[in-house]
């Protein structure tokens, strides 16, 4: 995005995060912006069609280790009450959405979804066409994906994704350790006041090595 447009968005409640890339093992590329932790994650990607209930989706143990795409475009509107999240944590590794709300509104909300995902080290990409993404996942069946704020060369990222998971028959997602994202992540600038002091430093690679 141009400097001019970044300046424009800086005036809104959703300034642009760093550039991020989402690639699928079938070769599809989605350019977007970081909305959570910086880093790079790999995993099976699934879409979820709930219009309300992202807290259930991210805390569903069945989704552990996966990248979740939400089909509803505006996510995070009502924030998060940690009591609604099993064990107060999420085991998803990546979150692919259209837009992440930084100014939630609900009487029970304790933390914004964006800050929660940041704390949990989930790599979020926003600003992508999630409908097109959904159609791709739907048409291809089991799809694996990578989200990266580090490697913005799509060919390189797809290559590494395919080496890990193959380009046609993905391996089972159970090989992805559920604890991969446990390490606290560095903050994206201006995204979260609580982490604002920490500049993004070391990339987080939450996927355990040696899957192949």
């Amino acid at each position: 995005m141009s400097k001019q447009s970044e300046n424009l968005l800086a005036q809104t409640s959703s300034p642009l995060g760093a550039r991020a890339l989402l690639v699928l093992n079938n070769g599809a590329v989605f350019e977007g912006f970081a909305g959570g932790a910086y880093g790079e994650v790999f995993g099976e990607i699934r879409f979820d069609t709930s219009m309300i209930g992202y807290e259930n989706v991210i805390s569903d143990p069945a989704n552990a280790g996966t990248i979740i795409a939400m089909t509803y475009p505006q996510i995070g509107n009502y924030g998060l009450n940690l009591g609604d999240i099993a064990e107060g944590k999420t085991d998803i590794v990546g979150f692919a959405i259209h837009s992440l709300c930084k100014t939630p509104s609900n009487w029970r909300s304790e933390i914004s979804l964006s800050n929660f995902l940041l704390e949990q080290g989930v790599v979020v990409i926003e600003g992508i066409d999630t409908r097109m993404l959904t159609q791709n996942i739907r048409d291809h069946g089991n799809v694996f994906a990578a989200i990266s704020t580090e490697d913005l060369d799509s060919a390189s990222l797809i290559g590494r994704l395919q080496r890990r998971f193959g380009d046609a028959e993905p391996k089972v997602s159970a090989t992805v350790p559920a604890t991969a994202a446990a390490a606290p992540a560095p903050a994206a600038p201006a995204a979260a006041p609580t982490f604002a002091a920490t500049a993004p430093a070391t990339p987080v690679i939450p996927i355990a090595e040696g899957v192949e």
Binding site: S5, M51, P73, Y78
Partner: protein, 1073 residues
């Protein structure tokens, strides 16, 4: 369970005329139900008094009755047709109330008619507040603390316990009519006494106030096996306290967490089960406390509703169609999902976009009425918009309203009441969203705006982002805006005209720059499943997205049909009817039809009416964006009323092929100088006219033409700002206030033909031949807007010679103007001279009525002509043959909704809808229209007469008739003198302010059953105004024109009471031409 085979024929009750609170959404749902039941093999019988509906098209069902929807008439239909079942849940409150009345009177039992979809007990539990509250208590749900008042004193006692403010809801009224919020004793007394009168049960609910709570609506369906599904959740932008029909609403709900939503959802499903909805759709309204989550159930409607129409359009799930199938015994698993083809109807829709509905008001037409939004619905129409985000959808909705605005302000038209600014940010009015936006511009915080307005901070924060982007754009010159910035501006909803205003450039420049940057919208699909399944549905919307468009390659000729936008006074369902017909006709002759409209209440926005549907605003920008994508071979602009017509010129200039009558020909008819020149050339008479840009000029024109004058602003629809002035002082007053007269906004002055008979002619022209569809004689004289005047076809008082002259003029004028399609010409006849008042080379409001009366589908023919067909090849019946029966169309006025406004008919249109009556003679047809509007025809009592000098001579005959029919007369001094002179017994009444005046009491006590009051011009006679308002409030028949009085009295005689003397006739039984 498969469909029932023990029932063979089903009676469907429609909702009657368009009124506030009950608009064309019931034509949409009714037409769906009719189609699906017919397709299932049932014999379908329909009753609906509204001729402008698609559902009353005679080919849609087996037996169509355009008759009053009253228990008396529906019983006649039942006796004649002997249906096995009655489906009453798709005709709105009117349908439901009629069914309840028929059941209670034992009519259904007598004829063995089974009520399907919902039983009487369930309807009563849903509609009767007391039973409903008991029912909610039994399943552990809370309703607001409340009590019932059967007298004002009851309400006063209840307030002692509940405290002010209290919400007042009369039982069993339409769209919350008569309800309100009382903040003090005075308001309480006023609203309760009105409400008691309006409630058929004489009962008003007095309820604790939940003002400021979140308002959520749930659309739920249930089948006969007891399965229930959620179709859609809707969150109101406006908090509790504003009627949901007057609120901006958003789907899906935005600020409920999963846990809260689960409670709301469980409650909704428990409610439909407990109320006992047998099979069909229901709407549930809930209030949620924004700080503790306490849920209160507000109400439920055990039928399809305005909200279910909205939910259908918002999700793509056809609630009415599925409701009809459920009513005949199917269960969800047996009904396929039309759109996905894969899943069954049991699959709950999910959406991947945001939907915003915004109400359209018409307060400018009802001077003197309170414009604050309350629990009593006042909106006359609505728009819906779809975007990927709330911001995008909200901005679209704000520019869809056809109120001259290009979005959420920032379009150069912002004008704020500075003295009351802070109040108006909080006070719910039609402009509140604009005030909220302006407050954010002026530095109010999100919290401040939210606190003042009770609008959830989430919505306000989105608005704040929109304003931030707007501000950023305003700092840039257009040429410097880059692609990314333009993309963001569009994504946050800024329209091209707004960007033009902000960057001090023109819309054309913005469009050019934007397209050069490659910033064009993406087309996405409404598919009920958020793309979880592949579908081939052609229900589309535009958005600004990084991804690709979902479009299909062109395989045949494409026609784009521009719809009519939101319902408002002057532009209603009639135009939607024409657009739908054009779509059917063009599809039938091989076109791929593409509909563009933003009105969720209509049949045109049903996803299967046209081959493709774009749910989009009807602005140049939005229409051109669609044209760029779809590349249609032609665009139809002449069927959707003024909205698409005003785009004709600019579309043509952009190289678009406008089908039918050319923009040049349209201009020829609309430009008064050019039109007058043509009339002169053809030797056709027209009233002397002039134009003035100042009072001085106006006075000079008046001197040449003479008074009385009809004055109006230069570009108007529905007679906006029009008035009749009788002398120089009135002229001065007119030019001084109402219309800002200036060189840019001149005023037209026409000689007013007092006492002339008005006639409308609708015709087709293909450039070679003219076919006169109908000649309609108005009942009210010239000076009453044609949309507010009753009319009759064939003409009841015109000679054959006059009628053939009218036809001749129509033929010559249509050919000369170069009309290719439909034309409507308005005539006035005075002293046997025919004057042409105006010609509109487009579909008129009367096209559906004429089509119903003659059986010739004028709009379809018009569309085929636009596609190049010739009238000679259409096999139309002879247009000169006279109908052997009379059809009367009567306007339905919304005065009951706008207390304080004067009810005298005039040149400014104020009606919301129309009804049709068909009978062997004019009085009987007229009587049917009065009964159809649910005016009770006076049967006995006193008639109050007070007429102006002009009418004194003619009142004598009317008075004689009234006396002969057994009424006694009351009259004001002048009128009484005239009657006494004629030897008619009359009691003179004193003026209202005189000490021993009794007239007010006689009206209030119901002794007076009819009021005939004809004021002259727009002189507001204080007494007359007061008494007329009183009559409206107390539901007393009142007439403000002599012609109307004559027709009414003839009708009263023909009807003999509630319609015992009137026969019914199905459209299918009318003798052919």
């Amino acid at each position: 369970m498969p469909k029932r085979t023990d029932i063979k024929s089903i009676l469907i009750i429609g909702s009657g005329p368009i009124v506030i609170g009950q608009a064309c959404e019931f034509d949409y749902s009714g037409a769906q139900a009719c189609k699906v039941l017919k397709a299932e093999g049932y014999k379908v019988i329909l009753v609906n008094s509204n001729p402008a509906t698609i559902m009353t098209d005679p080919e849609l069902v087996d037996r169509t009755y355009v008759e009053p929807i009253t228990p008396e008439f529906v019983e006649k239909i039942i006796a004649k047709e002997r249906p096995d079942a009655l489906l009453a849940t798709i005709g709105g409150q009117t349908g439901l109330n009629t069914a309840v009345a028929l059941a209670k009177e034992g009519v259904l039992d007598k004829y063995g008619v089974e009520l399907i979809g919902c039983d009487i007990q369930a309807i009563e539990r849903g509609e009767d507040r007391k039973l409903f509250n008991e029912c909610m208590e039994s399943i552990g749900l809370e309703t607001a603390r409340c009590g019932y008042a059967y007298a004002v004193a009851d309400a006063e006692n209840l307030v002692g316990e509940l405290g002010f403010p209290v919400v007042l809801r009369p039982s069993f009224t339409l769209g919350g009519a008569g309800g309100g919020i009382a903040h003090d004793m005075e308001e309480l007394r006023e609203i309760v006494s009105q409400g008691l009168e309006l409630s058929p049960a004489n009962e008003v609910l007095v309820e604790e106030s939940v003002l400021g709570w979140k308002e959520i609506e749930m659309e739920v369906m249930r089948d006969s096996a007891g399965n229930s599904i959620t179709i859609c959740s809707i969150e109101n932008f406006d908090a509790m306290g504003v009627h949901t029909g007057d609120s901006i609403t958003v789907a899906p709900a935005q600020t409920l967490s999963a846990a809260e939503y689960a409670r709301v959802r469980d409650a909704s499903h428990a409610i439909v089960a407990a109320v006992g909805v047998a099979a069909g759709g229901s709407n549930i309204q809930l209030a949620i406390h924004p700080e503790n989550g306490r849920i209160i159930i507000i109400e439920m409607n055990p039928r399809v509703s305005r909200s279910s129409a909205l939910a259908s359009k918002a999700t793509g799930f056809p609630i009415a169609k599925v409701s009809a199938k459920l009513a005949v015994g199917y269960t969800f698993d047996e009904i396929p999902n039309d759109i996905t083809q894969i899943a069954s109807a049991a699959f709950e829709p999910t959406i991947d976009y945001c939907v915003v509905k915004a109400p359209r008001f018409a307060f400018e037409k009802f001077e003197g009425t309170d414009t604050t939004l309350t629990t009593r619905m006042k909106a006359v129409g609505e728009v819906m918009s779809i975007g990927r985000t709330f911001e995008e959808a909200f901005a679209k909705a704000m520019r869809s309203l056809e109120d001259g605005r290009a979005g959420l302000g920032a379009d150069g038209k912002d004008k704020f009441d500075e003295e009351r600014f802070a109040d108006l940010v909080g006070l719910p009015t039609q402009d509140r969203a604009l005030y909220m936006a302006e407050a954010l511009r002026r530095g109010w915080s999100v919290e401040q705006v939210s606190k003042a307005s009770f609008v959830d901070p989430w919505f306000v924060a989105r608005m704040a982002d929109m304003i931030a982007v707007e501000r950023g754009i305003a700092e840039l010159p257009l040429a410097e805006i880059d692609a990314d910035t333009m993309f963001i501006a569009k994504r946050f909803g800024l329209s091209d005209p707004q960007i033009a205003h902000l960057t001090n450039s023109s819309e054309a420049d913005v469009r050019q720059h934007r397209k050069a940057l490659g910033v064009v919208p993406t087309v996405k699909t409404v598919d009920t499943c958020a793309a979880a399944f592949a579908t081939d549905t052609e229900y589309k919307y535009k958005c600004y997205e990084k991804g690709t468009s979902e479009t299909t390659p062109k395989t045949r000729k494409r026609a784009l049909i521009l719809g009519a936008g939101p319902n408002r006074i002057g532009q209603g369902i009639e135009f939607d009817y024409c657009c739908v017909h054009a779509s059917y006709a063009l599809h039938d002759i091989g076109y791929e039809t593409i509909m563009v409209n933003c009105n969720p209440e209509t049949v045109s926005t049903d996803y299967d009416t046209s081959d493709k549907l774009y749910f989009e605003p009807l602005t140049f920008e939005d229409v051109m964006d669609i044209i760029d994508v779809e590349e249609p071979d032609g665009v139809v602009v002449t069927l959707g009323g003024q909205t698409p017509l005003k785009l004709a010129r600019s579309l043509e200039a952009a190289g678009v092929n406008v089908m039918g009558t050319t923009p040049e020909a349209i201009d020829l008819a609309e430009d008064r100088d050019r039109f007058s020149a043509i009339l002169d050339e053809l030797g056709i008479t027209y009233p002397q006219a002039g134009m003035a840009s100042s009072f001085k000029e106006a006075s000079r024109v008046a001197e040449t033409i003479g008074f009385p004058l009809l004055v109006r602003p230069s570009y108007v629809l529905g007679g906006r700002g029009m008035a009749i002035v009788y002398d120089a002082s009135q002229l001065e007053k007119y030019t001084a206030d109402a219309t800002k007269i200036s060189p840019d906004h001149p005023v037209y002055l026409d000689r007013f033909l007092e006492g002339a008979i008005e006639v409308d002619v609708d015709a087709l022209c293909d450039g070679e031949m003219v076919y006169v569809g109908g000649v309609l004689e108005h009942i009210e004289m010239a000076g009453i807007h044609s949309g507010d005047s009753a009319c009759c076809m064939p003409p009841f008082s015109l000679s054959e010679a006059i009628v053939s002259q009218l036809r001749l003029i129509t033929r010559r004028l249509a050919l000369r103007l170069g009309v290719v399609g439909l034309i409507n010409i308005q005539f006035a006849i005075k002293d046997t001279i025919i004057y042409v008042i105006e010609a509109n080379p487009r579909a008129s409001r009367t096209v559906p009525f004429v089509s119903k009366a003659t059986g010739v589908a004028l709009a379809k023919c018009g569309a085929r002509i636009m596609a190049g067909e010739k009238i000679a090849d259409m096999n139309l019946p002879d247009d000169e043959k006279r109908l052997s029966y009379y059809c009367v169309k009567e306007a339905v006025m919304p005065f009951g909704r706008f207390p304080g406004t004067d009810v005298v008919l005039g040149p400014e249109m104020r009606s919301t809808g129309e009804v049709m009556g068909i009978a062997p003679n004019f009085p009987a047809a007229y009587a049917k229209t009065q009964l159809a509007i649910s005016y009770k025809l006076p049967e006995a009592g006193k008639v109050f007469l007070s007429v102006c000098d002009r009418d004194k001579r003619h009142i004598v005959a009317i008075a004689r008739d009234v006396v002969r029919m057994g009424f006694t007369l009351l009259a004001t001094a002048g009128t009484a003198r005239t009657l006494q002179a004629a030897g008619i017994p009359v009691e003179e009444v004193k003026k209202v302010h005189e000490t021993d005046s009794t007239i007010v009491n006689e009206i209030m006590s119901g002794e007076v059953s009819l009021m005939i009051n004809t004021p002259l011009g727009n002189l507001t006679l204080d007494d007359g105004y007061y008494l007329r308002s009183l009559a409206v409030r107390h539901g007393i028949s009142h007439v403000t024109t002599l012609a109307g009085a004559q027709a009414l009295i003839a009708g009263m005689e023909a009807a003999s009471g509630a319609g015992a003397g009137l026969e019914i006739k199905a459209l299918q039984d009318l003798p052919g031409l």
